[in-house]
Symmetry: C2
Subunit: 154 residues, 2 copies
């Protein structure tokens, strides 16, 4: 019951910094990907997940679960990617309802072309400017946070 109704100074400023960094970084990344490769950040993420999967293929649900978007949002993005020729949809052999999204050759090519610029920006915004110790502490916090959040996300 001694839970205060407001956050204390440190908590508040960390929280604000978290929101602000997220917003700014997302905006810059979005911008860079759009200018450089004509991809939105979500689309890029979808391509990355597919590229990480065996044969560059994943079920829609696995894609949505591992990613940061809802089921309907994913349907939309995959439709966009398919229209652009970067992704193909196949039926799932073991489940008639299932849909498998699969990277096309062009999808691979676009992703390979986009990755270096994206990596450079992430490095510039997110990695450089932090000392090794700072980065380590920061990463440790993120990882702990994510572990705890997985409980909530269930």
């Amino acid at each position: 019951m001694d839970e205060p109704a407001w956050l204390d100074e440190h908590e508040l400023s960390a929280w604000q910094a978290f929101l602000a960094t997220g917003a700014i970084i997302n905006r810059l990344v979005e911008q860079q990907l759009k200018d450089d490769s004509g991809l939105s950040h979500s689309q890029y993420e979808v391509l990355v997940r597919l590229a990480d999967a065996p044969d560059g293929e994943l079920r829609m649900t696995e894609l949505a679960g591992a990613a940061f978007t809802s089921k309907s949002g994913l349907t939309y993005q995959v439709a966009q990617l398919e229209k652009a020729g970067l992704v193909r949809r196949r039926a799932c052999p073991t489940d008639v309802r299932g849909v498998i999204a699969s990277l096309t050759d062009e999808g691979w090519a676009v992703l390979r072309a986009a990755a270096p610029g994206h990596a450079a920006l992430v490095r510039e915004l997110f990695v450089s400017g932090l000392s090794r110790e700072e980065f380590a502490g920061f990463a440790a916090g993120l990882s702990a946070l994510l572990g705890r959040l997985s409980v909530h996300a269930g």
Copy 2:
């Protein structure tokens, strides 16, 4: 030069954790505010900024600059808040073009009612589960990151 085109293992996992935590936390916060107070996260942020300002008033530009939304986005949100009776728009006495957004009594009341639940959730998601040292390191990283980003945001 010897800049690799991809992120190394630690960088990548930290980056993914950053994106994932941001996405999950934002979704949960959004949900909670909507259910609890009928506010979107952006709307809540606007109210908080106003409440922090002297007399609960701010110029539109200051609001947009300090916040995470574009000018047009802010116009939209303030219109919503005005429709809901939480914010009033006044003309700016020193600049005819200017518009001052100002918290109404009801705006104060709604914010006071919403704050404890929001603070509790932020505490639960963001603060608890990290040891004091972890949190300190994490906050230090965030702050350094934000400082560096301000350059880019200019």
